[in-house]
């Protein structure tokens, strides 16, 4: 019980919700990643981002690797997209006062899931 998740450390849902919204805004405005969300219903998109951020921070959600794969394998996601999202994530967390060491931890967690999200290697 002594172990504290980042989700708890950074103020639980009331704080994390703000990170989620700004993450969501940035993604929608991004011309790199935004198009993936063109036809996605708003509530679905928010739901997805809430769970995404919560699971990365050790909040009350977690995606299994298989789920991640199933959710993404129909999309043409490439390494560049993944990198871009990683940057957005990094900026969002930093902007919301997450300490650099913790940002690094989250990014490493994220990086570990790359193979389940990015499709087969692509030759452009």
């Amino acid at each position: 019980m002594a172990y504290q998740t980042l989700f708890e450390k950074y103020g639980g849902f009331s704080k994390v919700s703000k990170m989620v919204l700004s993450f969501y805004d940035t993604l929608l405005d991004s011309d790199e990643i935004g198009p993936f969300f063109d036809d996605i219903d708003m509530s679905k998109m928010v739901d997805h981002q809430t769970k995404f951020v919560a699971s990365l921070l050790g909040g009350p959600a977690s995606y299994s690797d298989k789920q991640l794969y199933q959710l993404h394998n129909h999309l043409d996601i490439r390494d560049a997209h993944f990198d871009e999202l990683k940057d957005v994530l990094k900026d969002t967390l930093s902007d919301h006062g997450v300490e650099p060491a913790d940002v690094e931890t989250v990014l490493q967690e994220f990086e570990q899931r790359r193979s389940f999200i990015v499709g087969q290697p692509h030759v452009d």
Binding site: S17, S43, D47, A54, P60, A61
Partner: protein, 351 residues
């Protein structure tokens, strides 16, 4: 700057979308900057229905005719973001001209937040259900090692006060040749069978109000009169003991491994308590436990030895034989009796 100019500046810059429409054609007379920002530069050119897709024009007209007002919520896609706009129409007139004032509030953020709260509360609720399930399992586990009333005390205070139960009856059962059996057959088979047998014993004991206290290897201890006092505690353990043997006899007929037990029954006082801090077990202590163990050693395979005190309570309903006075290690010499299965046994109470 004149008041009119300031008003117009304000109207243009305000964070609410404002437009003025012709009542009949629903063409735009005016729209402010915010309105244009949301709905695009083309907005003034087309009539309203072309801008607000999904707007119920009939409902708008009847609303304006009835009370001069109409409100609705429309969704509008700006770039890839779904905007949710609360719109309010109010009928107005300027001289001869029939107009409609349109005020639009951007409630997208509210809807997004609502979605997020939905999403989050669903996660939390799911987790709560999981925690509840886990808690129930822990509770079930703890109820297996201690009586419910003891568990309730343990839950409320974190400790259990040792409690004296007097009188109660103890049934001690031990298997004959268990050590040899473990050595000669596959131990996992033996243990699986032991588990089956113990489970059956638990069910049998339960029918007569017995509470299993523990098993130590091939020894099985159950008591009657704990935690709730029971007037017929001697009869309860006697009935249970007879059915344990009946069960084993029946089981032996259809199984390759033969299980034979010895049983001892004794009454007296015991103290029940949780022992240990990290690895706690509920256990009972008292002469009745030791005596039942010693008496069990007097039994031939598949027989039940009974303490004199218990025998007195069983005389009316059970068939018992006097074995005579015996020396019992740690106890004064005393009468020991043998309990037999007979047709006189009262049928088990309906559960």
């Amino acid at each position: 700057m004149s008041i009119e100019a300031i008003n117009e500046q304000l109207l243009r810059a305000i964070g609410v979308g404002v437009a003025l429409l012709d009542r009949g054609s629903l063409n735009f007379h005016f729209h402010n900057d915010t309105f244009e920002e949301w709905f695009g530069a083309q907005v003034g050119v087309n009539p309203l229905p072309a801008v607000f897709e999904g707007l119920d024009v009939a409902a708008l007209n009847s609303g304006l005719n009835d009370g001069g007002r109409y409100t609705a919520e429309i969704s509008h896609k700006k770039k890839r973001r779904n905007m949710v706009i609360a719109v309010e129409f109010t009928a107005a007139s300027e001289g001869e001209q029939q107009l409609v004032v349109l005020v639009c509030q951007n409630i997208t953020r509210i809807r997004e937040l609502e979605s997020m709260i939905d999403s989050y509360s669903m996660m939390v609720e799911r987790n709560t259900r999981e925690i509840k399930r886990e808690k129930e399992q822990v509770e079930k586990l703890l109820l297996n090692i201690m009586p419910r009333s003891v568990y309730e005390e343990f839950k409320a205070f974190g400790v259990v006060t040792p409690q004296l139960y007097d009188p109660i009856s103890v049934l001690m059962l031990d298997f004959v040749g268990f050590t040899d059996m473990v050595a000669s057959t596959d131990p996992s088979v033996t243990v699986t069978e032991l588990n089956d047998i113990y489970s059956a014993f638990d069910r049998i004991g339960e029918q007569f109000g017995c509470e299993r206290i523990k098993t130590i290897g091939d020894a099985y201890i159950t008591v009657a009169g704990l935690p709730d006092p029971m007037p017929d505690h001697s009869k309860a353990v006697a009935n249970t003991a007879i059915r344990f043997i009946r069960y084993l006899e029946r089981r032996n007929k259809s199984h390759p491994h033969q299980w034979h037990c010895r049983i001892g029954l004794a009454s007296g006082a015991v103290v029940g308590s949780v022992v240990g801090i990290q690895k706690y077990v509920y256990d009972i202590f008292g002469p009745a436990v030791n005596l039942a163990t010693r008496l069990q050693e007097f039994s031939e395979p598949m027989q039940i030895s009974v303490q004199d005190e218990v025998a007195k309570n069983l005389r009316e309903d059970f068939e018992i034989d006097r074995l005579g006075e015996r020396d019992i290690r740690g106890f004064p010499a005393q009468e020991v009796w043998r309990l037999h299965d007979s047709k006189k046994i009262t049928p088990p109470p309906k559960t």
